[in-house]
């Protein structure tokens, strides 16, 4: 799916969060790196209309997320760094099924679909467990399942491994980079994870400063920030 930004700027209460971003992307795995406050998360939130541009236009496929919020959220799933805030229902199965509310499917079909997606990530045995009692890695997997069950075309993940230990971070990385068929925008501080993407965007001081091959962008990022 083509992601297009045409001179997009975002300001919150007079502070510029993103400045004059213009780009066209259609790669499957898009990495986004940069220091804290560089504009990465604002960029990610523009993709499903959680943030609207102050000026300029965003298009994701055929949808303008700022004007067609419902369509944007249908085609774009969002994964946050803290899985706790993404859990709506008390049990694992109910939380995945919650994503299919209003889908027109019967209760049995919803349950079947929810169980199938949990089974795909080998966590079907957790279906009746209390969602808040899961480990952080399992919660993040649950969040991914709750998004994937709606079959979005694009996944946006904002620092999905930030709160995970090494083993869980690697498992989530493998899932996001290799096991899901969707196009993904991966905002991360984990350069190993970013290196697995097809292209990387680098943000600094609210501007998009570089787009390119992961190895080249990561090398420049490290060189620029090694003096700090």
């Amino acid at each position: 799916m083509l992601i297009e930004f045409d001179r997009v700027s975002v300001a919150f209460e007079g502070t510029t969060a993103l400045s004059e971003v213009t780009l066209k992307l259609d790669q499957k795995r898009i990495g986004v790196i940069g220091l804290n406050g560089s504009g990465k998360s604002t960029f990610a939130r523009l993709l499903n209309g959680l943030v609207a541009p102050t000026s300029g236009q965003v298009r994701v496929g055929e949808v303008d997320p700022a004007k067609e919020a419902k369509a944007a959220r249908k085609q774009t799933g969002f994964i946050f760094s803290n899985p706790d805030v993404q859990i709506v229902m008390p049990t694992v199965l109910e939380d995945v099924a919650f994503s299919l509310r209003g889908s027109g499917l019967t209760k049995a079909e919803i349950d079947q679909k929810a169980r199938a997606i949990l089974g795909g990530f080998a966590i079907e045995h957790l279906a009746d467990q209390a969602a808040h009692s899961l480990s952080s890695g399992q919660k993040q997997l649950l969040a991914i399942c709750a998004i994937l069950v709606t079959e979005p075309k694009l996944i946006v993940a904002d620092e999905p491994t930030a709160l995970l230990d090494l083993v869980n971070a690697r498992r989530i990385a493998r899932v996001l980079l290799h096991e899901i068929p969707q196009q993904i925008v991966l905002v991360t501080h984990d350069l190993e994870l970013a290196a697995g993407c097809d292209v990387i965007l680098r943000f600094a001081d609210s501007r998009l400063v570089q787009i390119g091959e992961p190895s080249a962008v990561i090398a420049d990022y490290l060189a620029e920030n090694s003096k700090a």
């Binding site: 959220r73 946050f80 706790d84 805030v85 709506v88 229902m89 008390p90 009746d128």
Partner: protein, 207 residues
């Protein structure tokens, strides 16, 4: 969470909610039709009935005793001020038993009721003729049922923040007190509410 298949698990959420409201009302107020000789025993009998309901739902009293243990701080918090202010011990006992019983009954309801079934019951009830005027005024049954579930779901998160705040203050050598914990707990809860609202929006929930 709700693996059992007891009579209580299988009862409809609407029936259980009604029964819960009636039982809590019965133990909270002075029943005018109850014989005077029985009245002092009502809180104790109600607790015995609750224990029996737990035994029926979970094939034993283990879960009942576990829930009772979870309420220990609340029981202490309710009992001590009454004793300090010189309330007669019989009244203290009666009030504590009534409150404990109400909490145990509410816990039994949530332990034996599937959330989705509960949401559906709330939506069906609010969609009935009785509530139609409110629906016409803009009441959305789906929003009410979701709000109910979100409130229930927020409880483990608030408890988590409470523990984190306690640990952080202890680690800094400060004795955690309710006054010291209020601000950090409030900040954490508000931040959670903010992030949670954003995640709900991202999941396509429009309220």
């Amino acid at each position: 969470m709700q693996q059992s298949d007891s009579l209580i698990h299988r009862a409809t959420p609407g029936f259980k909610l009604l029964a819960l409201i009636l039982l809590i009302a019965a133990i909270s107020v002075d029943l005018p039709f109850a014989p005077a000789s029985l009245k002092p025993w009502i809180p104790t009998l109600a607790l015995a009935l609750t224990a029996a309901l737990y035994a029926l739902a979970f094939s034993g009293l283990g879960r009942f005793l576990g829930q009772l243990w979870n309420l220990k701080f609340l029981i202490i918090l309710v009992t001590i001020p009454q004793l300090i202010f010189g309330t007669p011990w019989a009244n203290v006992l009666s009030a504590t038993l009534r409150l404990t019983d109400a909490m145990l009954l509410a816990a039994l309801f949530s332990l034996t009721t599937k959330t989705r079934a509960l949401m559906e019951s709330i939506e069906v009830a609010l969609g009935s003729k009785f509530f139609r005027p409110l629906v016409r005024l803009g009441l959305k049954p789906e929003t009410v049922s979701l709000a109910f579930v979100l409130t229930m779901n927020a409880i483990p998160m608030i408890l988590k923040f409470l523990n984190q705040t306690k640990e952080a203050q202890t680690a800094r050598g400060v004795k955690p007190t309710p006054v010291r914990m209020t601000i950090p707990l409030l900040v954490a809860s508000l931040k959670y509410a903010d992030e949670f609202a954003e995640a709900l929006t991202a999941r396509g929930v429009e309220v």
